[in-house]
Symmetry: C2
Subunit: 248 residues, 2 copies
């Protein structure tokens, strides 16, 4: 687990996030996916809650949450893994297991992000919509909770830099140590470029490539904003939470 | 439902297929996902079978198979939909409901395709691997069974061309009517280009863009071959099966 490996994973995860957003944008808003069903029809609450909690339960049986990179949105009462056993190398301090910001991610995704990158409408594909939402949520959640690994690698690289702030439980000092504005600007530009490249209409006709360059399946500036306002701040929040407990 | 709308959907589905293959290629082969578990541990058979059949069962409850574009890999004993009702416009002849080539797709995907585009190895992410496999399978299956819509639109466009071959139940004649080699060549080239564009390492550094152009997350020629050897022939098979029953 080196800083290079962590960086490479973060960069690769950007592609996954952009792909998943483009795939969700294929469907319109499909609001019946999110409305409370009354009366309860086999499940209570919204289809998306039912879908995500049941899928997580199944994926827990398939061993998803054995990997410390994965965090459930409904972590209570998950069944044990039935999958072939695999030992993930113990990289993180045990405190990482108690850090889960998926409640925040859930709220941001459904209340703020989704209305910005889907068009209004209802095409009836509620299951596919919920499945695409879950892919987005899982990709964003993995990226944000990867903050644990980022923090661990940074700490191991220079423990003397972090220890005073950790002992003082000084959030602001830790946040300062973890913030590199030039890097954040670069990340925002890179994900914007990825959205442009992965969201373009690819045509064999090279003559009208300029014409098709205008169309994009998802607004690149929105992906940059997603990173700026939500993903990077929440990743740093996870990093600070982790470091505060790193010496426990 | 026009020929243009069908074409647009087919082109958009190419992106989904390429994205899903790139996402699966993130993981190594992870063969424990596919091995028979002995003894039965909460499920019998392979993890992938358990995972796909259980996910399909959940997605059926969420209404996935209400849409005639969707076909399950384990269609027997699927539970009824609990999702908000939605009426999909009745476009297809009822015979379409009995056409399901997912057994073939399953065999091709796991026996032929998967070993070609994953690297050997085991990183323990069996649940994420199975989930990525299911995304690939669903995207490929939707594309192939979209042959029903393609055939319906072609038939409506020129029923007099197809009726003699349908009445004679002449598969070869139908296959000839449905085959346009120039179009197939164009599709192969376009999906190859998509794999190249969507699978590239995107960097802000424009000076070494030629260097990074060599790297691609998935072999573009493999995607072209997937279309050439499997997707397009199976789509035409579905079209022929559909047309043979179109006048019933």
């Amino acid at each position: 687990m080196s800083l290079d490996a962590v960086r490479e994973s973060l960069i690769r995860q950007e592609d996954t996030i952009v792909f998943s957003l483009i795939e969700r944008a294929k469907f319109p808003m499909n609001s019946p996916t999110y409305q409370q069903s009354k009366p309860c029809v086999g499940f209570c609450g919204s289809l998306i809650r039912f879908f995500v909690s049941e899928t997580e339960s199944l994926q827990a049986k398939a061993g998803r949450y054995q990997n410390p990179e994965e965090h459930a949105f409904f972590p209570d009462h998950l069944p044990p893994s039935l999958a072939p056993p695999h030992t993930f190398p113990p990289v993180l301090h045990p405190a990482a297991a108690s850090i889960n910001v998926n409640n925040k991610i859930w709220d941001i995704y459904f209340k703020q992000l989704l209305p910005l990158f889907t068009v209004p409408g209802d095409d009836g594909n509620y299951a596919s919509t919920a499945s695409s939402d879950l892919n987005c949520l899982q990709a964003i959640s993995r990226r944000i909770h990867y903050g644990n690994f980022v923090a661990e690698v940074k700490f191991r690289d220079a423990p003397h830099e972090y220890e005073p702030a950790i002992r003082a439980q000084d959030r602001d000092a830790l946040m300062k140590l973890l913030t590199f504005e030039a890097v954040e600007e670069m990340v925002k530009k890179r994900v914007e470029k990825k959205a442009m490249i992965f969201g373009q209409e690819v045509s064999l006709d090279t003559t009208n490539s300029t014409e098709s360059k205008g169309k994009c399946k998802i607004d690149p500036l929105l992906v940059s904003r997603l990173y700026d306002e939500w993903i990077m701040p929440l990743t740093k929040f996870v990093q600070v939470e982790y470091l505060l407990r790193r010496l426990d």
